[in-house]
């Protein structure tokens, strides 16, 4: 009986404690939301009034969530001190705060803050460098990303910068990179992403690196430019290399150019080649297949 009473008492105590914890947690959450509402409202307040309060939140013992919001508000305050503070966090903030501050520089878009990203990239680790690229992307600063791609010695960093340029649709910068550094896998991928068939054609017709040439030829089929079929047919017909021929056929297949494949089939006198072309039409489930079959039956 005594044990039962003890158990009931413990259960009651636990129940009261858990209710108290739940209430405290709700109160904390409400307090956090009030602070968030105040921060958001500060965006509409005069910068000289808002700035000191935002900085206090950033320097205070607040949650990461609140501080990240404060960084966003800071990025929206049009005041030199706000930019300076943002750069300070981007240079020396703790972990996640530093990365968030870097991204907020991209949102802020102030020339002075953007200019500060160069040193931050140079001194930063992989996460910082990724955040800097993201900031350039947000700010649509092609030059910043182009400079990273031009100056880096790291293949990984080069690839990331090229990918970022592709996401920005920076055709001119990507063309300059091919001219300056030569074609590469990363550039071909970037040309596909940015729908740049003109640059792909240049690599597709450049025989200096057959592997890249094959990649570029196939990529022409992916990009699907208006006259890609004509270019691929021309490459197919003019090459002596079986690998290049195969790449052109793959390009035609990916681009769904069954009419061009049918034309090649009809023009060919080579049995092996005809078989390959026919296989491509079968894979494409092309209506041209029926024409080929009818022609074959007619010949008999």
């Amino acid at each position: 009986m005594h044990t039962h009473l003890k158990l009931i008492f413990v259960l009651l105590a636990l129940s009261v404690a858990s209710t108290a914890v739940a209430q405290t947690s709700q109160a904390d959450q409400d307090k956090e939301e009030l602070k968030m509402a105040a921060l958001e409202a500060l965006m509409s307040a005069p910068s000289d009034l808002a700035l000191p309060l935002v900085i206090k939140v950033l320097n205070g013992n607040n949650s990461d969530n609140l501080k990240e919001s404060a960084l966003f508000i800071l990025s929206q305050i049009d005041h030199p001190d706000a930019t300076a503070k943002l750069l300070e966090f981007a240079r020396s903030g703790d972990g996640g705060m530093q990365l968030e501050a870097i991204r907020m520089i991209g949102i802020n878009g102030e020339d002075e803050a953007i200019a500060g990203l160069t040193d931050i990239y140079a001194a930063g680790d992989a996460d910082v460098r990724e955040a800097v690229l993201e900031a350039y992307l947000i700010a649509d600063d092609v030059e910043g990303v182009f400079n990273i791609a031009m100056n880096t010695q790291s293949e990984d960093e080069y690839e990331e910068a090229v990918e970022t340029l592709a996401a920005m649709g920076a055709h001119e910068a990507l063309s300059k990179l091919r001219e300056a550094k030569g074609p590469s896998d990363a550039l071909i991928t970037a040309y596909i992403i940015s729908d740049n068939d003109a640059e792909l054609r240049k690599i597709a017709l450049d025989g200096s690196d057959i592997e890249l040439q094959i990649e570029a030829i196939e990529a022409l089929g992916i990009v699907g430019a208006n006259d890609a079929d004509a270019v691929l047919v021309e490459i197919y017909r003019s090459t002596a290399s079986e690998d290049i021929k195969e790449a052109a056929l793959v390009g035609l297949l990916i681009g769904d150019h069954d009419d061009a494949i049918l034309a090649l089939y009809r023009a060919s006198n080579n049995v092996v080649e005809k078989r390959d072309l026919l296989e491509a039409l079968v894979v494409m489930d092309s209506d041209s297949m029926m024409e080929v079959i009818e022609e074959a039956l007619g010949d008999q």
Partner: protein
């Protein structure tokens, strides 16, 4: 008897002066705001010196719209359509608006915004009261929002404490 005549004379002069100031009234009876259509009155503004004009559209004895000209006001009536109640005391204006905050109607948020534009401690105290003790979290957040947008020093001091307290 002569003092009575003099008194009457003074009252007459006072009435003439009041009339010469226009048809404004102080502490006018806002409860008479039961007529249909737009009403307006002025109160001392949180932006000192200055006045704030409050517009209320009454429909079936209840406010359908509460507007304060400025950044957040889009639907002001044309001049001819408005019953002008003149200058109203801060307390009376806040009392009238506060009943709609407390009534939890849709108009409550607009009433809160209007309260935040009044000069003096009263409006800030109403907002603080809501932030610190109202059960409706959304209303509390709205009170904080309007407090910040009032841009008064006292409001900012309060927000400062709110943001820095653990």
């Amino acid at each position: 008897m002569s003092w009575l005549i003099r008194m009457r004379g003074l009252i007459a002069v006072a009435l003439m002066i009041a009339a010469s100031l226009g048809n404004e009234t102080i502490a006018s009876d806002l409860i008479a705001l039961s007529e249909e259509g737009w009403h307006t009155w002025r109160v001392p503004s949180v932006e000192i010196p200055g006045e704030e004009r409050i517009y209320v559209l009454m429909r079936s004895g209840e406010p359908a719209k509460i507007e304060v000209p400025g950044r957040w006001c889009n639907n002001l009536p044309h001049n001819g359509e408005v019953i002008d109640l003149g200058l109203v005391s801060t307390d009376e204006s806040i009392d009238w608006l506060q009943q709609y905050v407390e009534s939890r109607t849709d108009i409550g948020s607009d009433a809160l915004a209007a309260i935040s534009r009044h000069a003096g401690d009263r409006s800030l105290n109403v907002l603080i009261g809501i932030v610190e003790s109202d059960a409706d979290q959304e209303l509390r957040e709205q009170a904080v929002f309007w407090m910040v947008l009032s841009e008064s020093d006292d409001a900012f001091n309060y927000i400062d404490r709110l943001l820095t307290k653990k």
